[in-house]
């Protein structure tokens, strides 16, 4: 088996008449952290939502090209979208705990997937919170509301929540954009730890974050890929002039 987990071939995404992604070609390797950087509105978030087909929920959504996840085109007619979304867990830019307890937030996906037994759920919740690096802080208040946690804790709760669904991929959409440096550091630590079990795609508006945690980095501009390569190379000797300009802060 090759080490390529996701192949994106000639993929374009439209919303009505507006084209947000334009003929994208990109490979994602298994057990890597792929960082995606680029100015606002360069199609980074739309790209993530194409991977788990959340774009389907937007009115007038339409695509061209193919996204192949572990050998199967995810837009093929017989694909089970619910199953697909479980395999590609997603963390959003602003943490959105559901109006439920911490426990129920984490157990949410597992319950929807049909896990009923309390001991099984208990184990899943504990395991996920541990992996998300939040267990120690909340173990004595699992029944209190997830919305009462601090911003950083909420985001780690969201991370734990997707781990509970046992995904293969973790998609993160600017997960630390609203957080303080310490919370950001904690999330980044968790990501490094999680790399060995998951393939991670990290969209970030903070180029330094990509430099810190990504194995490879892709630079998006105007809905297209400018270049992708090992993070060190992108940050020190990019092939494309525009990458260099962006990283030096000349635009974006």
């Amino acid at each position: 088996m090759s080490d390529i987990a996701i192949e994106i071939r000639g993929f374009s995404q439209y919303f009505g008449q507006v084209r947000k992604i334009n003929g994208l070609d990109l490979d994602v390797r298994r057990h890597e952290i792929l960082g995606i950087i680029g100015p606002a509105r360069s199609g980074k978030s739309t790209f993530l939502c194409a991977l788990n087909r959340l774009n389907d929920l937007v009115r007038g959504s339409r695509h061209e090209g193919a996204i192949v996840v572990e050998g199967r085109d995810i837009y093929a007619p017989d694909v089970d979208v619910v199953e697909l979304r479980r395999r590609l867990g997603m963390v959003f830019a602003t943490p959105v705990p559901l109006p439920r307890s911490i426990y129920e937030n984490v157990a949410f996906g597992a319950r929807r997937a049909g896990v009923r037994r309390r001991d099984e759920l208990d184990a899943i919740v504990r395991d996920s919170l541990e992996k998300g690096g939040l267990w120690e802080e909340v173990l004595d208040r699992l029944e209190s509301s997830g919305q009462k946690l601090s911003g950083g804790q909420q985001q780690r709760l969201c991370l734990a929540r997707i781990l509970a669904v046992k995904p293969e991929f973790i998609l993160l959409d600017e997960p630390t954009s609203g957080l303080d440096p310490i919370s950001t550091m904690k999330i980044e630590e968790s990501l490094r730890r999680l790399k060995k079990d998951y393939t991670i795609i990290l969209v970030t508006n903070n180029t330094k974050q990509a430099a810190r945690v990504a194995d490879r980095t892709a630079f998006f501009l105007n809905g297209g890929l400018v270049e992708v390569g090992p993070t060190a190379k992108i940050f020190t000797a990019p092939d494309d002039r525009r990458t260099d300009d962006y990283l030096r802060g000349r635009f974006g």
Binding site: E70, R72, D78, V79, D80, V81, V82, E83, R87
Partner: protein
């Protein structure tokens, strides 16, 4: 990777979702179906007699003597018109004032006091309004202005109060929908608050305010129990504000209890006239507020 078995389970869920969507669509048509069934029944019961006696004698005839097969609705049509006009003359100034005070002049605390009071106004049963008319307003009118007291004037005042919640809530919505920048721009140009209301907010919220008045009109035309109790119910065209009057709704409610045969059909015909008036008003209100929604 997902095996075929798992995908199959998921597809079953998707099929369930399709079934649910279909079931919800059927449920969603309940309101439309009810409207259709009501239309069919009222029109079906009420129009044959109109054809038999001719629309003209029905709508323009001024004598209502069911026992002698005289079914002229003209006095009731005029009655409904008078009472509704009176209700608007009283309800609109009060209602718009409340709406302006609530959105523009009242502090947050005062608004918190006035708003629930007005919501309460909407909750009071119409028979209670009618009763208040009977025990307070009608004797007052009889003593002060003479006449029987049960009159166009009494009905107008009570209906004017009853349409307040409709007028207020919809014009408040319309005024609140005016972008704050309009207000700020006007104040920044040195206009006073009242000038801002008069020159900027009212024109901007015009279609919503018109819709509120039309819907208030619908309420006044359709109100039954309060009108029966205070309007006097004489089936003749009123000669003054102090004369008794019978509305279309009263005509139905007063005689429905004992009417049979053609008489009952004639009451349904009254319902048809009422129904048509209401549907026209609804459609106008709907069109004006649709225009408002489309405006930038």
């Amino acid at each position: 990777m997902a095996g075929p078995k798992k995908a199959g389970a998921g597809n079953r869920l998707e099929r369930n979702d399709r079934l649910i969507r279909l079931a919800l669509l059927v449920v969603a048509f309940s309101a439309v179906s009810v409207l259709l069934v009501i239309t069919v029944f009222i029109v079906g019961q009420g129009t044959p007699i109109m054809f038999r006696y001719g629309f003209k004698s029905f709508l323009a005839g001024s004598d209502w003597y069911p026992s002698e097969k005289l079914f002229g609705l003209w006095p009731m049509i005029v009655g409904s018109l008078f009472v509704t006009a009176g209700a608007l003359a009283i309800g609109v100034p009060f209602g718009l004032s409340c709406a302006i005070v609530l959105t523009e002049f009242a502090s947050k605390r005062v608004r918190g006091l006035i708003k629930p009071v007005i919501e309460l106004l909407a909750g009071i049963p119409s028979v209670v309004y009618g009763f208040m008319g009977v025990v307070i307003l009608v004797p007052f009118i009889r003593r002060t202005f003479g006449g029987p007291g049960l009159s166009v004037l009494a009905a107008s005042i009570i209906l004017g109060v009853m349409i307040l919640p409709t007028v207020i809530s919809i014009s408040v919505d319309a005024l609140q929908a005016v972008p704050p920048s309009y207000r700020e721009g006007s104040i920044a140009l040195g206009a006073t608050r009242w000038q801002t209301v008069k020159m900027v907010l009212f024109p901007a919220a015009r279609s919503g305010i018109i819709a509120s008045i039309i819907l208030g009109m619908g309420r006044a035309v359709g109100e039954t129990m309060a009108t029966i109790m205070i309007a006097g119910n004489a089936a003749e065209i009123p000669r003054s504000l102090l004369a008794p009057v019978r509305t279309l709704t009263s005509n139905v409610a007063l005689e429905m209890g004992y009417a049979t045969g053609e008489h009952r059909e004639a009451l349904f015909a009254t319902g048809v006239v009422l129904f048509v008036i209401i549907m026209v008003l609804n459609t106008i209100a709907n069109a004006t507020s649709a225009k408002r929604r489309k405006a930038p």
